[in-house]
């Protein structure tokens, strides 16, 4: 579903991603861990075209973006990729001038050109799916962080993505609100959604992930199934990371 081949990204002379190769198969739940500044968010942003890549290539659901292709071609490809992948942001990024329902149906109306009543039907169904059927008329400012993030997930799902990208979806949340977002993500995983998740939620990673990737300094350090990753890490860097995490 997602493959990156030698993907690299630098800002001026600062190398954020150094030749990254990852593979996310259909229905995989891949969790990317790593200290801050490791490049994990940048990787996700590259995959959704929010950052232009500097080298290598990647493929999402059959659409290829190659750093050697012209800028125009790359932009065209990323726009097509965005239609097939949903993105959930750390800061939710809900549209503040639209209600919960308005946020969910915006893409259906503007991008998919669905008639309003049809979009509303889909939107209500999705709000119900994330447990917010009774909040459709609420503006984001009146919703808690957890509710906002669930609306944001519904907004992404509305576009019927083949894969969902989560960029630290619970990092901006108060601790007591993390659970409601994670449980929505769990349900999505159970329904067979392909997911690439940048997160610090170890319990979620351990229980839900099919594969864990540890990144540090723009490199992939280790890549393994959760059990092996947590019980028997091969790399010293991984062991150090896990020790740091456990001290918290």
């Amino acid at each position: 579903m997602i493959t990156t081949t030698g993907l690299s990204k630098h800002f001026q002379d600062h190398e954020v991603l150094k030749s990254i190769n990852i593979e996310v198969a259909a229905q995989d739940i891949v969790v990317v861990l790593g200290p801050s500044g490791s490049g994990k968010s940048t990787l996700l942003r590259c995959l959704n075209g929010l950052e232009d890549i500097s080298g290598g290539s990647f493929e999402v659901n059959g659409i290829v973006v190659d750093a050697t292709a012209s800028r125009r071609l790359r932009q065209q490809a990323t726009r097509n990729i965005r239609k097939q992948s949903g993105m959930v942001f750390q800061q939710f990024n809900l549209y503040p001038h639209k209600t919960a329902l308005g946020n969910v149906i915006e893409g259906l109306i503007t991008v998919k050109k669905l008639p309003k009543d049809q979009a509303v039907t889909i939107g209500r169904k999705l709000l119900d799916r994330v447990g917010l059927a009774d909040r459709e008329e609420y503006y984001p400012s009146r919703l808690s962080g957890g509710q906002q993030q669930r609306v944001a997930i519904a907004r992404s799902l509305a576009m019927e993505p083949a894969v969902m990208l989560f960029d630290e979806p619970t990092s901006a949340l108060d601790p007591e609100l993390v659970g409601e977002v994670l449980s929505v993500m769990r349900e999505l995983a159970q329904e067979g959604m392909t997911m690439l998740v940048v997160s610090h939620e170890m319990k979620f990673a351990r229980e839900v992930a099919t594969k864990i990737i540890l990144m540090a300094d723009g490199n992939i350090i280790e890549e393994a199934a959760p059990q092996r990753f947590f019980e028997d890490p091969k790399e010293e860097r991984t062991r150090r990371f896990l020790r740091q995490i456990n001290e918290i």
């Binding site: 959704n48 075209g49 929010l50 726009r79 965005r82 239609k83 992948s85 949903g86 993105m87 942001f89 800061q91 990024n93 809900l94 549209y95 503040p96 001038h97 639209k98 209600t99 915006e106 893409g107 503007t110 991008v111 503006y139 984001p140 400012s141 944001a152 907004r155 992404s156 509305a158 576009m159």
Partner: protein
């Protein structure tokens, strides 16, 4: 004061023109301002440069000079405009420059995450601008826009020099007839004040409606 009341219909006709000038030039000013703001933010280098030059020229010269150039100056190049048309053009072009700066600032103040969210659902840059950024920018732009509106209402008095029969011009005609200054000037002062206050009131209501979501 009796003189003012006796000639009220004549003055009200001037006030009507003042309002008309304000509304029409604001309408076109808004369009010009929006186009120029987007040109400055999204255009290629020559377009950005032209837009900057326009804003610089208009903001750097007095409105009175702009008015006389458009009405009297253009005649030298074979362009003869009616006084009302010249007034509309001068005021619109002037308001557009100021409003473009207001819009540019407002558009820039919409958080980057909003664009990213819009893009990630597959919107084109134009769709994201129209559906997501501009509605939020409008709300931010309203208070400074109000300043420009009210400033414009008062600056319409400048077109009296090209004989547009707006409020100040009407008062001057009455003064010439009666040789009485104070009553007429005071009278139109009050009328300007009432119109400004009314305009401010409408803008405030509009602002509150847009703020409903926040």
């Amino acid at each position: 004061m009796q003189l003012v009341f006796d000639n009220l219909p004549f003055l009200l006709k001037g006030a009507g023109f003042t309002l008309l000038l304000t509304l029409v030039s604001m309408f076109f000013g808004l369009i010009i301002g929006l186009v120029v703001a987007i040109a400055r933010l999204k255009g290629n280098l020559p377009i950005r440069w032209i837009a900057r030059f326009y804003v610089s020229i208009i903001r750097g010269t007095p409105l009175l000079v702009q008015i006389v150039i458009i009405y009297y100056g253009l005649v030298d190049y074979g362009i003869t405009l009616g006084s009302l048309t010249a007034a509309y053009i001068a005021l619109s072009v002037n308001a557009g420059a100021y409003l473009s700066e207001t819009f540019r600032g407002a558009i820039l103040s919409v958080p980057k995450g909003q664009l990213e969210a819009a893009y990630s659902t597959g919107m084109t840059p134009w769709q994201a601008m129209r559906r997501i950024v501009l509605p939020q920018a409008m709300r931010i732009a309203i208070p400074p826009m109000g300043n420009t509106f009210i400033g414009m209402l008062k600056e319409t008095s400048l077109v009296s020099v090209i004989t547009v029969s707006e409020l100040l011009r009407q008062a001057q005609l009455l003064i010439a007839q009666y040789y009485q200054y104070m009553p007429f000037y005071l009278g139109i002062g009050v009328m300007y004040w009432i119109m400004s206050t009314g305009l401010a009131f409408i803008l405030e209501r509009f602002e509150r409606r847009l703020a409903k979501a926040y």
